[in-house]
Amino acid sequence: TWPRSREREAAAFRESLNRHRYLNSLFPSENSTAFYGINQFSYLFPEEFKAIYLRSKPSKFPRYPAELQMPIPNVS
């Protein structure tokens, strides 16, 4: 639903680069933490990405009954 223009893609890409810098800057000392960067979605604005790829409807599920302690199966 968005006109895909080169300018728009370039603007989205710049915004992605800024977002990556921010996300990677917050927990630099955590060696196993997630890292973010350029991928197939970097030419999309977040709202475009969400509109195309995040289309699962949320649902409210019953709480798992804690007393129903499940035995650990032998999965070998």
Partner: protein, 214 residues
């Protein structure tokens, strides 16, 4: 619980698929769970038709979106026989439902369960071991930029918006994590998978958990 477990090691998880620009993650995750549940019971591991779920589950919106709950309810109530992907291949857009004769072979589910495992992720891990890969709905807004590592920040348990399949977990390191199969192709994330920290309901991963029985 074992420190590490992944159903991929048992060769009961199909390859990562790519939904392309079709908003059908809800169908990919449910079909993935059915494929694995069958293989765990000793059936051949094979790709089943996601397009059939997209086109035929009338209580969803195809590539415009849907819910895992509605898809599982439709599969169970209608006793739909899921055919092989080779018979009804994915085309990344909505289409008319193809009907098959009653004698046509296919996989139907016996039942399914859905629970909120928030603050009970060890029980969720037991469910994974017991029933097979789990269908979950997460808040994946920050997954747009994900390249690898363990997602443990910037991922609220706000509004769930993306359905994926948990195939295992790994508690051997300092940060335990779920192993999550996505449907954005194998070039995304860690060979198509994401690693999400266990134990803190990161991305809302424990809020909406379904298992399939075949």
């Amino acid at each position: 619980l074992p420190l590490r477990f992944d159903w991929r090691d048992k060769h009961v998880v199909t390859q990562v698929r790519n939904q392309q620009t079709c908003g059908g993650c809800w169908a990919f995750s449910v079909v993935g769970a059915v494929e694995s549940a069958c293989a765990i019971k000793g059936e051949p591991l094979e790709d089943l038709s996601v397009q059939q779920v997209i086109d035929c589950s009338y209580n969803n919106y195809g590539c415009n979106g849907g819910s895992t709950v509605n898809a599982l309810n439709w599969l169970n109530k209608m006793q739909v026989k899921l055919v092989k992907d080779s018979e009804y291949p994915f085309k990344a857009q909505n289409g008319l439902c193809h009907y098959f004769s009653g004698s046509h072979s296919g996989i139907s589910i016996k039942d399914y369960s859905e629970y909120d495992f928030n603050e009970q992720e060890d029980e969720m891990a037991k469910a994974l071991l017991t029933f097979g890969p789990l269908v979950v709905i997460v808040d994946a807004v920050s997954w747009q930029d994900y390249l690898g590592g363990i997602i443990q920040h910037h991922c609220s348990s706000g509004e769930a918006n993306h359905a994926v399949l948990i195939t295992g977990f790994d508690k051997t390191g300092s940060t335990p994590y779920w192993i999550v199969r996505n449907s954005w192709g194998s070039s995304w994330g860690v060979d198509g998978y994401a690693h999400v920290k266990m134990g803190s309901n990161i991305c809302g991963i424990a809020d909406s958990v379904s298992a399939v029985f075949v």
